[in-house]
């Protein structure tokens, strides 16, 4: 029996309660997996890996000069979320993205939230991704963030907390879809008794969002031309870009395929220039248009921003959304929810200290060996100090950086992330996990029932990023509640 020696230890385990009883919503999965022989499990695990390699379901590791393609390690035990739990998560995410969109509109127009002293002005105006150039620009349907990936974790009591919002070009949705397909091929019997929500609608919903957000001056009875803009095959997420474009049936374009004339965007086709109306861009603001942002970038399209300002093309996500995933601005999201919606946040933030607040800063500097310090605009597990596990030298290095530029740092108490049984090669052990659900904002707000569960494969590690040796799991949201 594969789970016989499994130890939840002193962590919140997704599958088992503290005294080792299987949680009700995991019962059918546990029963099916318990029948699998270790050898069989091993074979299935390597079959999945081979099929990912074969299908090119890979990401690119920049630092690695050897064979730059790697598969994102996949663990065959699904992460299961109970129906009533998901209901709360979904409500919380909808509430959050609604407030964030209102914030973005406000911050690029009247800035009432600053005038009403809810957020100190310097935090917004000094945010690295605040785009002054976009003040008072109207975006179609007032939607700034069309695609959002919000990272959630569960603490030692099983509470869902928001770790961060990814409002620029969140990635991973393709792995959510590929993981599901892989698990269906490998363990079809697991699905039978469980009643799992399908995630396969994601690309279709994404396309609908794009079509809904066609430029305001677009003729109502015409159909918009949608494209996905990628930096190209050398980008680490290229697999995902091509995957989503294929699933949506829209062209994937690079900057060099596009040209702007008379404030309109065109793509260069075998039949000449064809107008483009909506762009799902997977290029960050900085590289989008070298005539406005970084002139040294060859990835973007000169004139794109002019076309966007003129209202002739829509971008998903809009320009300037990065101001809201600055980790200092993150601190204020619960305030935004209260301010714009008059509600209490359904999903709380992780307790956070701002290094730029003198009182917090003193606390951070005095407790560097106990806190997790993050720089405001880094992602992928870079620019982080994990105090309790860091060396003296690393701690001192961060002390200097924080004193030099407090605006750029926040700190959080280390959270004991929940754990999940994960295959180690010959048995199951608990490994820390997080969850990135995907939220689409179009005519309605849709939270795809599932997401990407990332798992820290190294024993004891809390870092789940693929670039730091993390893996992933299929994520199940159950359709119906399961009796206790």
């Amino acid at each position: 029996m594969l789970f016989d020696n499994y130890q939840p230890e002193n962590f919140f385990d997704e599958m088992f309660t503290a005294n080792g009883v299987t949680r009700p919503h995991y019962r059918s999965v546990a029963a099916a997996l318990n029948d699998v022989e270790p050898n069989e499990f091993r074979n299935k695990q390597s079959a999945v890996e081979a099929s990912f390699m074969r299908g090119g379901v890979t990401f690119t590791v920049y630092s690695d000069s050897q064979g730059t393609e790697r598969i994102f390690p996949f663990d065959c035990v699904p992460r299961v979320i109970a129906a009533e739990e998901w209901e709360i998560v979904e409500k919380g995410l909808i509430q959050r993205i609604t407030a964030l969109n209102l914030f973005l509109h406000d911050i690029y127009h009247e800035q009432k939230i600053i005038k009403d002293r809810i957020i100190p002005p310097q935090y917004v105006l000094s945010a690295k991704h605040f785009r002054r150039e976009f003040m008072h620009i109207e975006v179609p349907k007032d939607i700034y963030v069309h695609i959002c990936g919000t990272d959630l974790i569960r603490d030692k009591d099983g509470r869902y907390l928001v770790l961060e919002d990814n409002l620029r070009c969140p990635s991973g949705a393709s792995y959510m879809l590929e993981n599901r397909a892989a698990l269906k091929r490998t363990f079809p019997e697991l699905f039978k008794a469980s009643g799992v929500h399908s995630v396969s609608n994601y690309p279709a919903e994404l396309l609908k969002v794009m079509q809904y957000c066609a430029p305001a001056n677009f003729k109502a009875n015409d159909a918009p031309n949608c494209v996905l803009l990628t930096p190209g095959v050398f980008n680490s997420a290229y697999f995902e870009h091509a995957f989503l474009a294929r699933q949506m049936g829209i062209p994937i374009v690079e900057g060099r395929d596009l040209v702007v004339r008379d404030f309109k965007v065109y793509m260069r086709t075998t039949a000449g220039l064809v107008k483009v109306d909506v762009i799902y861009r997977r290029i960050d603001d900085d590289f989008l248009d070298p005539s406005v942002f970084r002139a040294d970038s060859l990835l973007g399209v000169p004139g794109l921003v002019n076309a966007y300002r003129a209202g002739n093309v829509s971008l998903a996500n809009s320009i300037g959304t990065g101001v809201a995933d600055d980790k200092v601005v993150y601190y204020f999201v619960p305030h935004m929810i209260k301010y714009y919606l008059g509600e209490d946040p359904i999903l709380p933030n992780v307790d956070t200290y701002l290094a730029s607040e003198p009182k917090d800063c003193a606390h951070i500097l005095a407790n560097l060996d106990k806190l997790v310090v993050k720089s405001a605009n880094e992602a992928g597990g870079y620019g982080m100090l994990m105090g309790p596990w860091a060396s003296k030298a690393e701690i001192e290095e961060f002390r200097v950086m924080i004193e030099d530029n407090p605006r750029n740092f926040i700190a959080q108490d280390p959270i004991s992330l929940s754990r999940h049984p994960t295959w180690t090669g010959d048995q199951f052990e608990g490994r820390h996990i997080d969850l990135r659900p995907y939220i689409l904002y179009g005519e309605k707000i849709i939270v795809t029932p599932g997401g990407l569960t990332r798992v820290a494969l190294k024993k004891g590690s809390l870092v789940v990023n693929s670039s730091q040796g993390g893996g992933s799991k299929d994520t199940w949201v159950l359709r119906n509640s399961v009796p206790e």
């Binding site: 299908g55 079509q211 015409d222 159909a223 062209p251 060099r256 395929d257 075998t270 000169p302 002019n306």
Partner: protein, 357 residues
């Protein structure tokens, strides 16, 4: 029943389906050409390895004579001798199969085919991509010693198999749209070119003595040429008799029912070029189309005897020129856009922005 007007979604689908980026057309074309090139290389090496077995004892010198034509047919003789001292089975096989420095090695060709496919993954079917990816990993995980010990034929057969599998999958999973036309055009262009080089190879192989023309060695060599085009059996069906030089070239040039003959490939190129350009069959409008039409027409009035009289080698060189010219014409017209002058574009849009304010 009257047809209801298309919904917005249907219009969008239709519009999207009919738009093809020039870059995508180029990638599909090169993907197809590189894979076809790899298949032909695999054929050449495999057949040559088998011929050598027929010869029993061979000296270093005759060994070299066996392999040089292959290197000459791809134009890589100089590069080869920069990397190796001796041209024997092992060195040539390694060079043609695995060397990254060789732009025409199997590894490079399949790598390039896959890289082009990766650029257009949203356009091709998953199955097409998986075959290319499989082929690439197969060759990347093989090494010369294993192949040498484990039977080279099985290895080269596997490469051919991947290529055939890819073509079969393409035919049964790829929509008959513009993209298909670029894939097919690229394939037949490459195949036509390689068929000429295959025949030309025989020109480079020296016979031991002039009097051997028409002898047993000559016949064995022509049979090898047929075999590398998978043409021995179809040839026998047409000409039950012996393998004769004039009959072999007639078959490989003019037999328009055989899918690797020159005529077959040229006609396919012509058909797909018309579809790509949107020119009705039989008409030749642009200068490039006109040139190819004239060439095809002349060829229709040429006989094997004419070709032999004029010199096979000279004839093949002309065919290669004409194939190249048509390829170049379609490439510059439909697949290539001159890269934008970034600095000029940036200045232009900055000025335009200022005028707006």
């Amino acid at each position: 029943m009257p047809k209801s007007p298309p919904t917005q979604e249907e219009v969008a689908r239709h519009k999207q389906a009919n738009v093809m980026l020039s870059r995508v057309a180029g990638s599909l074309y090169w993907m197809s050409r590189y894979l076809e090139r790899a298949e032909n290389l695999a054929r050449l090496v495999d057949v040559n390895l088998q011929i050598i077995l027929d010869f029993g004892q061979v000296s270093d010198e005759t060994m070299k004579e066996h392999w040089l034509p292959i290197l000459r047919s791809t134009g890589d003789e100089d590069l080869f001798f920069q990397l190796y001292e001796v041209a024997d089975s092992e060195s040539v096989m390694e060079f043609v199969t695995f060397r990254q420095e060789n732009p025409n090695s199997l590894l490079t060709c399949i790598g390039n085919a896959r890289e082009n496919a990766r650029q257009v993954r949203d356009q091709i079917s998953s199955e097409m991509w998986e075959v290319l990816n499989d082929a690439y990993h197969f060759i990347k995980n093989s090494d010369p010693e294993n192949i040498w010990d484990g039977g080279a034929s099985a290895f080269y057969d596997q490469i051919k198999y991947y290529s055939h599998l890819f073509q079969g999958i393409t035919v049964s999973t790829f929509s008959r749209n513009e993209g298909f036309e670029f894939i097919q055009f690229g394939k037949y262009l490459e195949r036509a070119d390689k068929t000429t080089r295959l025949m030309d190879m025989k020109y480079h192989i020296l016979l031991p003595k002039v009097t051997d023309v028409g002898g047993a060695v000559d016949a064995a060599q022509w049979q090898a040429v047929l075999r590398s085009a998978s043409a021995v059996e179809p040839y026998r069906r047409f000409y039950v008799a012996d393998i004769l030089f004039a009959k072999v070239i007639e078959f490989l040039i003019f037999e328009d029912t055989f899918p690797r003959s020159l005529m077959f490939c040229l006609q396919q190129m012509d058909d797909f070029a018309h579809l790509i350009a949107g020119t009705p069959a039989g008409e030749y409008r642009s200068e490039g189309e006109h040139r190819f039409g004239k060439f095809l027409n002349n060829l229709n009035f040429t006989t094997t005897k004419d070709i032999i009289g004029r010199g096979l080698h000279e004839f093949l060189a002309e065919v290669q020129r004409e194939i190249g010219a048509l390829g170049e014409h379609l490439y510059t017209t439909f697949m290539y856009h001159p890269p934008v002058d970034m600095q000029a574009e940036i200045r232009f849009h900055q000025q335009q922005e200022q005028q707006q304010q």
